[in-house]
Symmetry: C2
Subunit: 185 residues, 2 copies
DNA sequence: TAGATCATGTAACAGGTTACATGATTAG
DNA sequence: CTAATCATGTAACCTGTTACATGATCTA
């Protein structure tokens, strides 16, 4: 069994849902996967072509009155097999998140306390916005996908996102407090 | 003031410490920055060359008896200015961490409960190892850098790493529990 | 008729890793 | 003599984004 890159598997996975065209895949990404995976059209279309070449999906052109034609991709059994084989394989390494705020804080010695504080406040605000987005997504899943077998899994990943974001917000608060205390001395 | 890529600023930042050669930069990365930033020699050496071209550092070859010659890079005032300007600039977007375990869990419907459980257990173990590494790094900073002005900032980034890892471990536990309960029914 | 949305696609570029080449020195 | 560590560097490759080109359909 050949191994493919992550992009291939993500698309294979999305093709198990109702999203079957390149455009729909992008939308799905931006709505549901956005907190832990993103790709651009520049990756999606070439990868779809590749997936067909490898016979992991078949294309059909579908017409909806009032909309431009679109190409719909359907997983073959070979595609489904490849997806399942990949799902089984243990995750060999933890995500290596590059974190710009930590990088700036690491060299914080070359900043004033005010600058660091501003940096952290801006960051915290963005985290809070993200947290709200997670809540909307959660509500969306609960409202529209109650019966769907996928819903439970989607909510588990959201739970992760919410917890991690909440922890990051707490860290911002506690770190900010240290700087404010320091300034006041 | 020109803007450069992250790699350039990381190296500029490390050059403010005692690490002045390509080799030393790599070591520093692997020891201290590894939990939120990593780069390879393939990036370090070309970037050092670039930094000198831009007159943000100067090279001197230094010889230590018993060791091969090495090139040491010293920040110029232009380099220090560029670093400080970058530190000031707010972080425009939150890190978009790609998380393979979440991706697999998202499509967990196509796995057995056992497979998902195994995946999560393996993941949790890696998180625990990471947590231990953070504790060693923390100890290392406390032991050797007590006087250093950098130490405080380094410990703040570690605090972030520890908290996030702990939260991820908790999430693994709670998620595992859901699957075990389910199996037992 | 202009702008929004739906829809597909590619070329140029940026960023990064891996694998390799090279070679000095030291410890066992 | 061999392995480990110190040290510098590059070429090939992979992955991914951005910006652009193209064009249909619908709404205001």
């Amino acid at each position: 069994m050949k191994t493919y890159n992550h992009t291939t598997y993500v698309i294979l996975g999305i093709l198990t849902t109702d999203c079957k065209s390149g455009y729909a895949i992008k939308q799905f990404m931006d709505q549901s996967l956005t907190h832990f995976w993103k790709i651009s059209y520049g990756q999606i279309y070439p990868t779809l072509k590749f997936i067909v070449q490898e016979e992991m999906a078949e294309v059909r052109t579908s017409s909806t009155p009032g909309k431009p034609d679109r190409k719909e991709y359907f997983l073959t059994s070979k595609g489904m097999e490849a997806l399942k084989k990949w799902l089984e394989k243990p995750v060999e390494q933890l995500p290596a998140e590059r974190n710009e705020i930590l990088l700036k804080l690491f060299f914080g010695r070359y900043q004033t306390g005010d600058q660091t504080t501003t940096l952290l406040q801006t960051y915290k605000q963005k985290l809070e916005e993200r947290y709200q987005i997670y809540i909307s997504i959660e509500q969306g899943i609960k409202d529209h996908n109650e019966r769907e077998e996928d819903a439970m899994y989607w909510l588990l990943t959201l739970d992760y996102g919410k917890r991690m974001t909440a922890t990051a917000i707490d860290w911002c608060d506690d770190t900010l407090e240290k700087f404010i205390t320091k300034e006041g001395q």
